[in-house]
Symmetry: C2
Amino acid sequence: MIKAHDHDYQHAGTACEGYWAFDEGKSGKRPGILVAHEWNGLQDYVKKRTQMLAEMGYVAFAADIFGKGVRAKSFPECEKISAPYYQDRALTRGRAQAGLDLLAKHPNVDTSKMAAIGYCFGGIVVLELARSGAPLKGVVAFHGQLNTPNAADAKNIKGKVLVLHGAIDPVVPPAEVAAFEKEMEDAKVDWQLVSYGGAVHTFTNWNLPTTGMPAAYNEKADKRSWLAMKNFFAEVLGQ
Amino acid sequence: MIKAHDHDYQHAGTACEGYWAFDEGKSGKRPGILVAHEWNGLQDYVKKRTQMLAEMGYVAFAADIFGKGVRAKSFPECEKISAPYYQDRALTRGRAQAGLDLLAKHPNVDTSKMAAIGYCFGGIVVLELARSGAPLKGVVAFHGQLNTPNAADAKNIKGKVLVLHGAIDPVVPPAEVAAFEKEMEDAKVDWQLVSYGGAVHTFTNWNLPTTGMPAAYNEKADKRSWLAMKNFFAEVLGQ
């Protein structure tokens, strides 16, 4: 039986509202997965993904990066609420770390088996968290943005990295992908990148229409990328 | 019980020696997989891959592209025996088609479920075969070369395409990858490309040393790419 609920917490004086999901009928330690939301804030889509991770047997926590109640309904609102966190990566790392700290304290989490997944802006979040040296066995970015002002910090990455990328994503263009690949190679990170043909930005989000630019749902790429994540977790978490 | 054996056949007056592998204890129709060898010709490495496909339940046939006995032991020999087939793509397509025709005639092959995999030069082979309009449900290129003088023929591709690529493969450089991706997008092919960080050319071939340029074995990328192929076949062949 999956238990899922909002959870109030604080980071550096900011009220946050995250979201837990785990199987309460299951005892014992298991891997913990941190989930990082898109640029519209922690909304139903990411909550559903958090539940899906719980159904796979993990303890999952969706961190609230923007703060309680800070959720966008329109494109300009998304730009406005996310901008400070694209800008101030130290703040973003701290906010992500606060979520990871909570996850690590969950009585059922095996802290030697933690990983993080992020969507779009959440790619920034989980990759910056990894660059900060957080004890993550793996990081998965779904149509994640890959840019960073902190490329040299890639040497701190402790786990493996999987990027699941829309091949024609105009939000994450080839130059950004190339810079990221170079960053990973230079730091000798264990990384992989899958390009899904025909997929644009946000290809996993079933709330979007299936055609159009720059973002659209792509069912094939969604299913393939979720399976790629499962296989990656089987490798890096052992379950 | 896997039955595996060499098989003499002809293509356009040229004697060829291919290699079959299938489970002779298994009855009924099943998918057929064509295997295309590296630039050194059909040798033990590719025979072993053919056997591994048979162990997965497929009927597998390794085509002989260069002709019976044409096998290279040195780098210059590889260059010499492969050059005509890089050059004359119509010949290469024909040679590959001869192998596919044999596969299709095997009594246990379900001809509605055929696919092809190729290694290095074999990437050229299976992709050209697909561009010729061959009835393949899927094509997999392992560290395959992706260039073609026939980009417009991509519109003939009937199945799905999976490229498993070494991210720092100097034999298949970024410009070749980019041109291939554009070719696939322009033709609206269902394609995916996985880049394995730290992997150079020929990363699946366990006969190579594990370090060095331009080619080296990479166990992680080998295992991950084989799993990616399995998942792809599960999707495109249904088993």
